[in-house]
């Protein structure tokens, strides 16, 4: 349990205890209350996210079905930082989309805070998303809104009082290093700054988990490391992070749990790729950095397996 930071004192959790049991995801707006996921009790013991035999097929028009996930099992505990990696087209984005219900599973279950996401009604989807912070490669911020407006919208949708809202938006902007930039038009910011705005929006509601889908994909390597550092800070403050990337450099920064996705199945690498290599796993292929530019190709020159087809030696 990380120590409570000053900004956490004013935290208003969006996740009700109800959300863990019956009913649907409902916002829980008592200022100063603690997230039940952090606050101890039964909720604390529950994993944030569980994939249980998840299958996903994209149906093609001419009978060309694409079986993207072929039985994925994984468990992410509260407070973890997990990378999801794999070659382009492996289904990383699909995995995240299933969590925030932009897609639905064909078989299996996805439990988010104990609730089966696949069984939520359409009306409940907004409540699910209020408990998730989502960051994308292309930022997805509104360029003609101000930085402040882009962040505050995440709290406006739940009807937070304006005083509390202002306070929390300012805290979030501070956390991503954009203190005092609230009045700027978001469209004029640099790519790295725009992504910081998106991250502030993702964390301002104190979600149970932050999903990041290639958040550094549009940034140059130095900025990419910056943004990764920001996610690590957020993680250090107690937020669960699921970070999808195909960028080897990021995976090598620190040994972290990595979920390698390939050909519809996952390989869990609890201690990071370095350890994976040490175990003597066969280098099967090439890479998943093909076509991503010189910088990353050179960064994967090290003989470390990228296409981990779960062929563990011994």
């Amino acid at each position: 349990m990380p120590p409570a930071r000053p900004h956490e004192i004013a935290r208003a959790s969006l996740l009700s205890a109800d959300a863990l049991g019956g009913g649907r995801f409902r916002p829980f707006l008592r200022a100063g209350s603690r997230d039940p996921l952090r606050g101890g009790g039964d909720a604390q013991k529950k994993p944030v996210l569980v994939f249980d035999g998840v299958q996903k097929v994209y149906r093609g028009h001419s009978g060309t079905d694409l079986h993207v996930l072929r039985g994925v099992d994984l468990t992410i505990e509260r407070g973890e930082f997990v990378f999801v990696t794999g070659p382009s087209g492996a289904g990383k984005s699909t995995m995240l989309k299933l969590v925030y219900r932009a897609e639905t599973v064909d078989d299996g279950r996805i439990l988010f805070c104990g609730r089966d996401v696949a069984r939520l009604t359409d009306d409940s989807i907004p409540f699910l998303r209020r408990n998730l912070g989502i960051v994308f490669q292309d930022f997805k911020i509104v360029p003609n809104w101000t930085v402040y407006e882009n962040v505050s919208i995440a709290l406006e949708v739940i009807g937070l009082s304006s005083r509390l809202l202002r306070q929390r938006v300012n805290v979030a902007l501070e956390r991503v290093g954009l203190a005092g930039r609230g009045g700027d038009r978001a469209g004029v910011l640099s790519g790295g700054e725009q992504q910081r705005v998106a991250i502030a929006r993702a964390i301002v509601g104190e979600p149970a988990m932050v999903l990041a889908d290639e958040p550094t994909g549009n940034l140059d390597p130095a900025l990419a490391l910056d943004i990764l550092g920001l996610f690590e800070e957020i993680h250090a403050e107690g937020t669960t992070v699921l970070f999808a990337t195909h960028d080897r450099t990021l995976l090598d920064v620190r040994p972290r749990r990595i979920i390698v996705l390939d050909e519809g199945r996952v390989t869990d690498v609890p201690a990071g790729l370095g350890a994976y290599a040490d175990e003597g796993i066969e280098i099967d292929a090439e890479d998943f950095t093909e076509g991503y530019g010189d910088v990353r190709v050179s960064s994967v020159a090290a003989p470390i397996p990228m296409r981990a087809r779960a062929r563990r030696a011994g």
Partner: protein
Amino acid sequence: MAGSVERAKRGLYSEWRLHALSVVSLAVAFVCLGAALLVVVNIHALKERWGRTGRASVYLKDGAPPQQVEAILVALQATPEVREVRYLSPADARGQVLSGNMTDSTLKALPQEAFPASIEIDVQPEVKEADVQAMVAKLQSLPAVEGIETYGTWTERLGTLLSGGTLAAAALAAIVFGAVLAVVASTMRLALTRRRTEVEVLKLVGASDSFVRTPYVLEGTFQGALGSAAAIAILGALFALVRSRMDGDLGSLLGLDPMFLPWFVALGMVGVGALLGALGGALGLRRLTTV
């Protein structure tokens, strides 16, 4: 709600050119509708005016017993709808006709029987056409009565004109409704394509459908109301201009000053505009994806 108004304002402000354009097209459509309504309203007023100055001539049969004629006169005088009753003997009738045509010898040569006796009735101005017709029907059945002239052809023609005008206005209204819906919906769809990111972001942060939708419906309502109000203002200005040019000529010709749309019709137009705008705003979002 306050947030929705705020976002609607932001939307209108940031894409004011697009919205101004659609308000102008709406105003044009509503000017057409308003002009049609104006014509209908004035034909209606004319009909009221002429239809009500009822006059009827009850022609009596030759040799109708004087006491029967007398009875009719007394009965008519007692009828509240009747303002004035006058008995016209054949001699009176002849005299009246000939007074204007002293030189016409053929007319002078006509026998006394060519001019039947009649009862001339002036109906009270506020009496309705239908009541006059009912009275005429009753008189028609009396044995002393030969026939009745109600001078109703004018009123009938005006009536035909009015129903034709109403039909044309209704057809025009249908077209305008369609146009208004299409304009608002396509503006909204355009605004939506330009704000696709905005909608996507709203969906991602967990906005409910109504949260996303409300500002767009408000924008549509505002556009519709503004467009129709502008149309009424334009029509009013044109109307005042035309009337000042006419300088009362038209009024004396028709026996009536042309009138503008009554306030409730004008208000109704604004209301319909707002409603259609709201509907258009909602329709524009129909294809909103549930990302």
